[in-house]
Amino acid sequence: MSRADRRRAGVSPDPVEVTVGPNRRAENLVLVLLAGTVVGALAFIVFYFAYPDTQLLGLCLGLALVAMGLAFAVAGKRIVPQEKATEDYQDYGDPEVQEEVVELVDGGGAGVSRRRLLIGTAGAAGATVGGAALLPLASMGPGVGDYLSVTPWKPGRRLVDSEGAPLKPEDVEVGTFRLAFPEGASRSELGSSLNVLKEPVENLQVAEELVKVMPEGVMAYSRICPHAGCAVATYRYPLYEPTFGEPPALVCPCHYSTFDVRQGGKLTFGPAGRDLPILPLGLNAERELIALGDFLDRIGPSWSRVRGGPDSPLEPAGGGG
């Protein structure tokens, strides 16, 4: 009797055994499927030794398992006895037993004179010993200290490109951006990497003091987005006439915080809570780009003390620590 037949006949909810008589066709199908499993598994073994190609291995093992699954499913539906069984739901919750348990627990403290004091002290003992045992977790990392305020940048440090060569203003073209690092320092710290760009000085819409730290219109921003710390690795510089009006902007590819480079990294769109920090630049005697100090704001994703501190916005901070 097929499922559809049974549905038409109306399935009784009573425990009625619907015996499936010998179903030779289903048995044959299961035999073929199980044989397929054997073939697939053997092929997997052969390919594993002879030609361990990922696609072939996956195909053999996958098909073998799918065939096995189908075999079991067909057997479960067409070969073995089909049964409608019933089982009563247990209705838990016996008030008498609950009361007994309460009395047993309560009875454990019979005859004790200062019960509450003892229980309270035991609780305190448990809490202290637990707290003490967990304390070593504090060894997992250092205290925050000044770590989040320190970057490798200090006055006079040269900017170098990915190859380690010093950068000069003429290496930076308008409309593109260069990735730069502090010479001789780790590149993996969030405070290291920079986006260096150039804009004609007359386009800059920043305070006079800031223009001074953008020699020949070359400016450096932290490459790390102040939102979630991704590398700000895209630069939107309109070359298509209808979009000429849009100012050039550094855009973070993770959550699309957008920073107007002409306005000193001001946030114009997206979730970042702060503007992109500027690294004040100058030129040394060889006309190479150098840092005049640390970033004007703290870099990296925000934390509770990311603002303020000893740094004043227009005065190169010298590290904040």
């Binding site: 996958g62 710390g229 603002r307």
Partner: protein, 501 residues
């Protein structure tokens, strides 16, 4: 031999009665009760393939050189995390199959849990007496997401690194204590010390899977103790009362055990087919991560899409008191949003009891339409999450379809606030009408038969047309002619009886 084995075990452990009960244990027959099993079988694959990978993965960012079979990366100097993942993929026979199958299994594991969860909440299976198992299930979803994320970090490729820095930023954003917590987790400021990689690996392969395994055991034990829920055997009160007391279905042995084993074969088989034939996370194309690298249009695994979307939709807002930044922005989308979502799931039994239900014990499930307000609430809630998830793809939409990014974000911000209310009212109305008419939304005849009156003009509504039965002529004659002047009137006049509209 069979008799001998049974006697051997029963004489030693007295398991005879237990086995007898277990084999007669009844499972309800509805297909939707097998969704959780898919997650279970995916978990088994995860453990199996995962153990294989731990034999090769090296959890350190100490730098090494790749000298393996994959030509394009020959001589690459990168962290051991990354190089050992590439070696596992190209230089270990079957290694890539195991790695890709593991990744696919993680995806299927999460999908199956979410679909299973949807079934449980829409049918009210979480109600008394099954709240404990519901809490365990929601916890397993949270742990599963967390474990999938830590696994995604381990190869230290470009996408994992971008995920790791975002997680770090979200952690830093926890008000007042964020930086302390992150310094403990990462052993210093990002990118942390080498210890981070031991911690990530132990978390991914030992801590979370152990908790998950324990919870799975508990989940199954509680199901066995309480039995499955079931749908009512009929729509009348008598059938409902009977279904409330007695479970009907197939016994464990032989039919259900074979079907479940069949499902296991299919799940595991499909996962290996996917792992062998469909590429996933080719880390050798992304390359190793450095904090100054990022790629445009990068997408995390889909199960993190809702968090990416929330991070993107949140406007630039960082409340301050003096110099103190009280809530850094990444906290809103990356931490508060998922906390709210999980809080709603955890509180659902309480919300349901207060607003949609009755607080009594229930073994019989509701169909979604049986409780229109619960169904509408859940759909609005899922819509809210889904919309945020879609918002996580705004960059892809921008890159592929050139719809301006900013316009999309404003659109999604708007819909995220107003959309759930619209969804609530639409779904509530829909469920109420379905409940009244008692027809399947996707199956069978759903309309009304009308016949034009040849003499009077106008239309006669032939009732009883729901199952497509042909209405005898005399029934037609018995109906009052339903003269309808306009299309609108006909539409509103069509459902007879007490119309909820």
């Amino acid at each position: 031999m069979l008799r001998g084995s049974v006697r051997w075990i029963d004489e030693r452990l007295g398991l005879g009665p237990t086995l007898r009960t277990a084999m007669r244990y009844v499972f309800p027959d509805h297909w939707s009760f097998m969704l959780g099993e898919i997650a279970l079988y995916a978990f088994i694959v995860l453990v199996g393939t995962g153990v294989f990978m731990t034999f090769y993965y090296v959890p350190t960012d100490a730098v090494t050189t790749y000298r393996g079979a994959y030509e394009p990366l020959a001589g690459l100097i990168a962290s051991e995390n990354f190089i050992s993942t590439v070696r596992l993929s190209f230089d270990v026979p079957g290694g890539l199959l195991m790695r890709q199958t593991h990744h696919w299994a993680a995806n299927v594991f999460i999908v199956a849990i979410i679909v299973h969860l949807a079934r449980v909440v829409y049918t009210g299976a979480f109600r008394k007496p099954r709240e404990i198992n519901y809490f365990i299930g929601v916890s397993m979803l949270g742990l599963g997401l967390f474990d999938a994320f830590t696994g995604y970090m381990l190869p230290d490729d470009l996408l994992s690194g971008m995920g790791l820095i975002i997680a770090y930023a979200v952690g830093l954003g926890i008000p007042l204590v964020g930086e302390d917590l992150m310094f403990l987790a990462f052993d210093g400021p990002f990118p942390g010390s080498d210890a981070l990689w031991n911690r990530l690996e132990v978390t991914h392969v030992l801590l979370v899977p152990m908790i998950l395994a324990a919870l799975i055991g508990l989940h199954l034990w509680i199901i066995a103790r309480q039995h499955h829920t079931q749908f009512s055997s009929g729509s009348d009160e008598e059938a409902r009362a009977k279904s409330e007391k007695q479970l009907v279905g197939s016994p464990m042995w032989p039919a259900y055990a074979l079907r479940s084993l069949g499902l296991m074969g299919l799940v595991v088989g499909f996962l290996f087919l996917l792992g062998g034939l469909v590429q996933i996370n080719p880390v050798w194309l992304w390359g190793p991560y450095e904090p100054y690298l990022a790629s445009n249009g990068a997408q995390p695994d889909w199960y993190l899409g809702w968090l990416i979307g929330a991070l993107r939709l949140m406007p630039a807002f960082e409340p301050q008191i003096g110099d103190l930044t009280v809530v850094p922005n990444a906290f809103w989308g990356g931490a508060l949003f998922p906390v709210v979502v999980f809080a709603v799931f955890y509180l659902l039994p309480v919300i349901d009891k207060r607003f949609f239900g009755d607080g009594r014990k229930h073994n019989v499930l509701d169909r979604p339409r049986d409780n229109p307000r619960r169904t509408a609430f859940l759909t609005a809630f899922f819509f809210w999450i889904w919309l945020t998830f879609v918002a996580g793809a705004t960059d892809q939409v921008f890159l592929r379809m050139r719809i301006p990014y900013e316009a999309q974000v404003w659109f999604f911000r708007f819909v995220a606030v107003l959309g759930p209310f619209a969804v609530y009212f639409i779904v509530r109305r829909w469920a109420e009408e379905l409940r009244e008419r008692d027809v399947h939304p996707l199956r069978g005849w759903n309309g009304r038969l009308v016949r034009r009156d040849p003499v009077m003009g106008g239309f006669v509504t032939l009732d009883g047309g729901q199952d497509g039965a042909v209405v005898p002529e005399e029934d037609v004659a018995a109906h009052e002619p339903d003269v309808a002047g306009s299309r609108e009137e006909r539409a509103t006049a069509a459902p007879p009886g007490p119309d909820g509209a």
